[in-house]
């Protein structure tokens, strides 16, 4: 009986905590949201990922339609939230902006991506 219970516990440990499919840090959601239209210029862009990030190898940039950077160059992991990446923005005019991010998760896998948002009063 004890052996059966121990075997079941072992099985639960083996199956129940099997490595998740989200081994990379993928973008979970963002603010401004991906592809969204906002009425006022946001003070910063915040990205939430599916895994904790390595600060030394994670960053992002925000550029306008002309390809010029409009961020403050201060991309950083949010304090107390290791899966959250933020960057401050300059005062933005109405228009479409491109967010380009590249991150490395704590399991050493790099990922990158882009999305746009629009400021439309």
């Amino acid at each position: 009986m004890c052996k059966i219970i121990l075997a079941l516990v072992t099985g639960v440990l083996g199956i129940g905590v099997a490595p998740s499919l989200g081994a990379h840090a993928f973008l979970d959601h963002a603010s401004p949201a991906v592809g969204s239209s906002v009425p006022a210029p946001p003070p910063l862009v915040t990205l939430w990922f599916t895994q904790d990030l390595e600060p030394a190898f994670s960053g992002m940039t925000v550029t306008n339609a002309a390809g010029q950077r409009v961020d403050l160059g201060n991309a950083q992991i949010a304090q107390g939230s290791p899966a959250e990446l933020q960057i401050g923005l300059k005062q933005l005019a109405p228009g479409t902006y491109l967010v380009s991010w590249h991150v490395v998760s704590v399991d050493t896998h790099p990922t990158e991506g882009t999305f746009t948002f629009e400021i439309k009063p």
Binding site: T10, L13, E54, F57, D107
Partner: protein, 214 residues
């Protein structure tokens, strides 16, 4: 670079499993019971054991260094970064992987040190301890660090248990194969008892079970 990382990790895991498995086999498979094996046969095994363990420990250290370089390149997104001291330092001392890998490299170096310290009194217990640390520290990187809190801790414990099982089972196959080969050869004069030994894998425990029939 991805291929280099894959090959390095394969060698790393194989070396750590063999180094620990051989040492564990020496303990649970042979021990010091002369009813199982005579002193001369044990000496022959020990000579083979320390040669294999030394080679395995060197392979573990070299492959661990390769993993460090390949991971640095992977994280930085550039093959050239693999040899950049600043980037390597950033990885080793500024990432979760690096902080664990520093310990792993230390354990690999200590394993080699014990192998070369032929006059060390507690050489066998020492090799078991450092080999166990070398093997289990592989469970503190990679997918094991995903998640947070209790989930992460259980995942890491799960990884270590799997590594322990692999070390005992797979790592023990090499010395077992050596013994079986020796038993069939003319060197049976070294004093193996005329017994039939059997071994099988337990379906439930992932560990080898062995015994002997007179």
């Amino acid at each position: 670079m991805a291929e280099a990382l894959v090959v390095s990790r394969l060698i790393q895991f194989a070396a750590a499993i063999v180094v620990f498995g051989c040492g564990a086999f020496r303990l649970y498979g042979l021990g010091i019971d002369t009813a199982t094996i005579t002193a001369s046969a044990l000496a022959a095994f020990d000579s083979w054991f320390w040669r294999v363990t030394t080679v395995g420990a060197i392979a573990a250290l070299l492959s661990a260094l390769c993993v460090m370089f390949a991971t640095t390149a992977n994280m930085a997104g550039s093959a050239a970064a693999a040899l950049d001291p600043d980037t390597i330092g950033k990885v080793l001392f500024g990432t979760a992987f690096g902080r664990v890998w520093c310990w792993h490299l230390l354990f690999a170096a200590l394993t080699i040190g014990v192998c070369l310290a032929t006059n060390l009194r507690w050489r066998m217990p020492a090799i078991l301890v450092v080999a166990l640390l070398l093997l289990l520290s592989l469970g503190w990187v990679g997918h094991a660090v995903e998640g947070q809190g209790a989930t992460k801790l259980v995942h890491e414990i799960n990884q270590m248990l799997h590594l322990l099982a692999a070390g005992l089972w797979l790592g023990g196959l090499l010395p077992l194969a050596w013994l079986l080969g020796l038993a069939r050869s003319n060197r049976a004069r070294l004093g193996f008892r005329s017994r039939v030994t059997w071994c099988r894998a337990s379906r439930r425990w992932d560990m080898p079970q062995s015994g002997s029939l007179p």
